[in-house]
């Protein structure tokens, strides 16, 4: 296969995302889909990672291999941490594509990847599809994609054909993570990346804070109501939010009581949120509150009252004291313990081999 002179190689390139500490779930989901396609037509699954030097350890790479990666290319640069910027990896991506153009690029459908990858591949005439639910090759070897439209109220099936490279961005959480095969391994190549942002210069960085995270765009929201018991409850909730990479929300009562500013209020007279995960602590679920979070994909609620209305919209309802549960969660999720947990997990994985 050839494309405008460049050779299109029979590979699937997966762009792996490690911005939240570990591989994001969608990375593993992508690998699952990549392997499926690759097995069908004999392509090779290659993974490309942009990371700060040392951020991707060999055991991290092994995990990718266990999920189907055949080659792992780690591009390292100081500027790839602590936060990855779309425009900062496009140059590296392009220089890679100049050398070896994959048939298909798979990446997460999040702003970081869609916009960065689209900008990088446009000059190659690639076809890009974002917000995909599933992808397969049909009998004519055309790529068939199902995409979300209109806030996931509709699915549209598109086909990509022709000789141009294809880019598929997968909606996180729809494919599921397959079972790893710890027996598999893959060579890891490390390269020094060049970050070149043409005509754009960074003047200042602003690090995040859960209480400043925009509620509306947050993927996850942890919200508290009267049942959280006071401003200390919100302090703990903020800790939990930090651990879960979530934004903090609140009911009107909590705002009234002055425990948290109005900008955090969810509901009819506050913000309307559509996160993938909404966790409600000590919120009764009055209709005006539900108005603001009804469209969340997954709702979890903790409330003392078994009859609380919030349970009617919750996929998982926990009957108990909100503060106590938050404290437990914070304890269980604290990084030190988590790191230990991860190490123990890694050891277990190794012993399985």
């Amino acid at each position: 296969m050839s494309f405008d002179g460049a050779i299109v190689e029979p590979t699937v390139l997966v762009l792996a995302d490690k911005s939240a500490g570990d591989w994001s779930t969608v990375t593993l989901e992508l690998l699952g889909d990549a392997e499926l396609l690759a097995n069908k037509v004999g392509w090779t699954v290659k993974v490309m990672v942009f990371a700060a030097p040392g951020a991707v350890r060999d055991e991290d790479a092994r995990k990718l291999a266990a999920h189907g990666a055949k080659e792992v290319h780690v591009w390292e640069h100081e500027k790839f941490g602590p936060v990855l910027v779309p425009a900062q990896y496009t140059h590296t991506l392009r220089s890679y594509l100049d050398e070896s153009m994959p048939r298909l690029i798979l990446c997460p459908s999040t702003p970081l990847w869609v916009e960065g990858v689209a900008a990088a591949v446009a000059p190659y005439g690639a076809l890009v599809a974002s917000d995909c639910v599933s992808v397969k090759l049909n009998v004519r070897s055309d790529l068939e994609l199902v995409r979300n439209y209109w806030n996931q109220k509709t699915h549209a099936t598109w086909t990509f054909s022709g000789q141009r490279p294809w880019v598929v961005c997968l909606h996180p959480g729809v494919a599921g993570v397959g079972r790893p095969n710890p027996a598999l391994s893959a060579p890891v190549e490390r390269h020094q990346a060049i970050v070149l942002e043409e005509n754009v210069e960074t003047l200042e960085w602003f690090p995040p804070h859960p209480s400043r995270l925009d509620l509306v765009e947050a993927e996850r929201v942890v919200a508290g109501g009267r049942g959280i018991g006071g401003p200390e409850g919100f302090a703990e909730l903020t800790q939990l939010a930090e651990l879960l990479h979530a934004a903090v929300g609140a009911s009107r009562v909590a705002v009234d009581l002055g425990w948290i500013p109005y900008s955090r209020q969810v509901g009819q007279t506050g913000k309307t949120v559509r996160p993938r995960l909404y966790m409600a602590f000590g919120i009764s679920g009055a209709s005006q509150h539900l108005d603001g979070m009804r469209d969340a994909e997954t709702v979890v609620a903790v409330n003392l009252d078994k009859e609380a209305a919030i349970f009617s919209v919750a996929e998982l309802g926990l009957v108990g004291d909100a503060r106590a549960v938050i404290e437990e969660l914070v304890r269980l999720l604290k990084p030190s313990e988590r790191a230990e947990g991860a190490r123990a997990g890694a050891a277990a994985a190794l012993s399985n081999v």
Partner: protein, 683 residues
């Protein structure tokens, strides 16, 4: 002779100067009125005269506040009597023998005392009682005026008493009985003090005269920059007030017809004007600004003000007045002129705080119309696009889906699946009644709202009333839209509803929503709508009278009834809901603020969908506290779906669900009939 000439000259010079000043200072105000937009307020002149007299001479509204009303009556009557004194005093200057006679003279002195008593009461009120409503008023002005009044009446007493000492020696008259009894008390004092000599008495007379006439003239010249301009403007303000149902917002045909361009092409839509500058106000609005007495009655009853929001209707009027004064004076005019009324002079936050409840207008003794100004200023913000995020979303929903909730128009009648009564589909069949359901009752997820709609549906069905719905042809009535200042959108919604109602076959409209009731009853007719419209409480009352809905057992509960602003104050429907409650055996205990003085729940004028940050106490919660004070009251009865939402939430917020239940009138009626919910009309 010499004395009279001197005093006459003094009077002449002072009068020319002061009246000149008065004219010079009044001109900008009158000019501002002249350059404002026209609105016709001459209709029904006889009624206007009669009612103005009742307000001006009878102090009808003023007396609602006992102490202030009485003291004002004292001072006001003093002003009337003052005229007699002026006639007599000036008359004496020309012809010393002139007198108004002993009876009137006696009256003058009586009022001198009454006015002094009024002044003392006023000072007591201002200095000791110090009601909150004066906060923000110019108290110096008030005290200066009280001082002037004192000077005048004291002057009257002084010159009258010295006049008697001068009668014989200086004017060569025989002493007459002029009725000024105060003189009898004062003369011996003067004589004792040694001021009985003609010389001293002449001086005393002159001093009294100067105090009296001089202060009056000074007062006239001072008026244009004082709240006491209401001496001139109060009566006209009452006379030129808006007549008819208070809830009407759009001007009537008579109000606009003879406006400027003889109304040929004056499209209706030009008649509600966003207030970008003073020129966009009507002359009546300008009149209002200068009529305000700074009494603060409006501020006292304003729910937004009580909730700690930045709005005070009084300060709104005063701030506008001050801005207009600055403009007319040309002070820093370029700066002042570059300020926008909505946003700079009156902050957006202030404007959006108003619930358009109308309590301020109801309380104002000089019938100032706050709401049209607030709405006009909001409209200026709307046209400039300055609308907060949340209400902006709601406005867009109204524009796109014709309901505030952003739901598919097709789902509007979804609630009817809960009831078995079959409502006719007015898109295809005809019925006697159209039930205009309204946004909140159709879409809100509040459980109480669902209960009340179900109850009303069951009652109407049970009574065998021939009722149909517009289904998805119904859109928001636009009552809130209009009051949020989005005139264009109101027009759009109203036009679509009216088109639907024209195509449908029915005779009258009933609505469960006071806000829709108000729009359909008062504003739609200005656009050409003609069908009669009733609130469901009125319909239920009729059905009960006819025996079609018959309570079978007395509920025997003590309840209080909340008058919804858009049913009570704005539309004067007070009795129907109370009557049906009584028929169901409900013992009604009135809250201190009831009937026309009802206290708003805080949802009107689009407030239901706005940011409440910065509220100290939500009006709905203050209201529930008010009800909790009533002994033995277990039910808080509402007759508006918004009230249901607001008060249910308030009761939950205060955690007093077990002491007070929020119920709809319809629910209680249903309970007393013993009918089962969702009873079909056939059974």
């Amino acid at each position: 002779m010499a004395l009279r000439i001197v005093l006459a000259l003094f009077t002449l010079v002072l009068a020319i100067t002061m009246l000149g000043l008065l004219i010079v200072r009044m001109r900008p105000i009158l000019r501002a009125m002249a350059s404002a937009r026209q609105v016709v307020r001459w209709d029904q002149p006889l009624y206007r005269i009669r009612s103005t007299a009742a307000q001006v001479f009878g102090h009808k509204r003023l007396l609602r506040q006992r102490l202030s009303g009485i003291l004002h009556l004292f001072i006001f009557s003093g002003f009337v009597v003052l005229l007699l004194d002026i006639i007599e005093t000036i008359g004496q200057l020309v012809y010393p023998e002139f007198s108004i006679g002993p009876v009137l003279g006696f009256l003058v002195d009586c009022f001198v005392l009454l006015v002094l008593a009024g002044v003392v009461l006023a000072l007591y009120q201002r200095k000791v009682l110090h009601p909150k409503r004066f906060e923000g008023s110019d108290e110096k002005d008030g005290e200066l005026i009280l001082g002037m009044i004192t000077l005048i009446v004291v002057g009257i007493a002084i010159h009258n008493s010295f006049f008697r000492l001068l009668e014989h020696p200086v004017f060569g008259m025989t002493t007459s009985a002029d009725g000024h009894f105060l003189s009898y008390l004062l003369d011996p004092l003067w004589v004792r003090l040694g001021w009985g000599t003609p010389m001293a008495a002449s001086i005393g007379y002159s001093v009294g005269y100067a105090l009296d006439i001089g202060t009056i003239l000074w007062f006239l010249a001072y008026l244009p920059t004082s709240k006491h301009l209401h001496v001139f403007f109060g009566a006209p303000a009452v006379f030129f007030r808006k007549l008819g149902t208070p809830g009407r917002f759009l001007p009537t045909a008579t109000e606009v017809h003879s406006s400027g361009d003889s109304g040929i092409s004056a499209t209706r839509d030009m008649t509600v004007q966003p207030i970008q500058s003073f020129a966009d106000m009507t002359w009546r609005d300008v009149l209002d600004l200068f009529t305000c007495t700074e009494c603060g009655r409006c501020q006292d009853v304003c729910p937004a003000h009580q909730a700690g929001q930045p709005l005070s209707p009084k300060m709104l009027i005063l701030d506008l007045r001050d801005a207009l004064v600055q403009q007319t004076r040309g002070v820093e005019s370029s700066v002042v002129r570059s300020l926008s009324l909505a946003g700079d002079v009156i902050s957006a936050e202030t404007l959006w705080s108003c619930t358009t409840c109308g309590a301020c207008q109801e309380a104002c003794p000089v019938f100032i119309e706050h709401v049209p100004k607030i709405v006009g200023l909001r409209a200026a913000l709307v046209e400039r696009g300055e609308v907060e995020e949340r209400p902006q979303e709601v406005l867009e929903h109204w524009g796109e889906e014709r309901n505030a909730y952003g739901k598919m128009p097709e789902t509007r009648p979804a609630w009817r699946n809960r009831v078995t009564y079959h409502f006719k589909d007015l898109r295809r069949e005809s019925a006697e009644w159209l039930w205009f359901v309204g946004d909140v009752a159709s879409f809100d997820n509040d459980l109480g709202v669902a209960r009340s709609v179900d109850a009303i549906a069951t009652l109407l069905g049970g009574a065998g009333l021939d009722v149909g719905l517009l289904y998805d042809w119904e859109g928001s009535s636009g009552n809130d839209v209009l009051r949020m200042g989005e005139y264009g959108l109101f027009e759009q919604l109203a036009t679509e509803n009216m088109r639907a109602m024209e195509r449908a076959q029915f005779e009258r409209v009933l609505t469960s929503d006071p806000h829709s009731f108000n729009a359909l009853r008062n504003d739609y007719p200005q656009l050409g709508f003609k069908k009669p419209i009733y609130h469901y409480s009125q319909v239920l009352q009729q059905l009960m009278t006819e025996g079609k809905v018959a309570p079978t057992h007395s509920l025997g509960i003590r309840a209080t009834f909340h008058d919804p602003c858009y049913l009570g104050r704005w539309n004067q429907v007070f009795e129907a809901p109370r009557d049906i409650l009584r028929r169901c055996g409900v013992d009604i205990v009135e809250m201190p603020r009831s009937f026309a003085n009802s206290f708003c729940c805080g949802a009107g004028g689009g407030r239901m969908w706005m940011n409440e940050a910065g509220m100290k106490e939500r009006p709905s919660e203050a209201r529930i506290r008010e009800a909790l004070e009533l002994p033995g009251v277990t039910h808080f009865v509402v007759s508006c779906p918004k009230d249901m939402v607001m008060y249910s939430a308030a009761v939950t917020a205060l955690g007093c669900q077990d002491r007070l239940s929020v119920v709809d009138v319809g629910e209680l009626v249903l309970e007393s009939t013993g009918w089962q919910f969702a009873r079909t009309s056939a059974s």
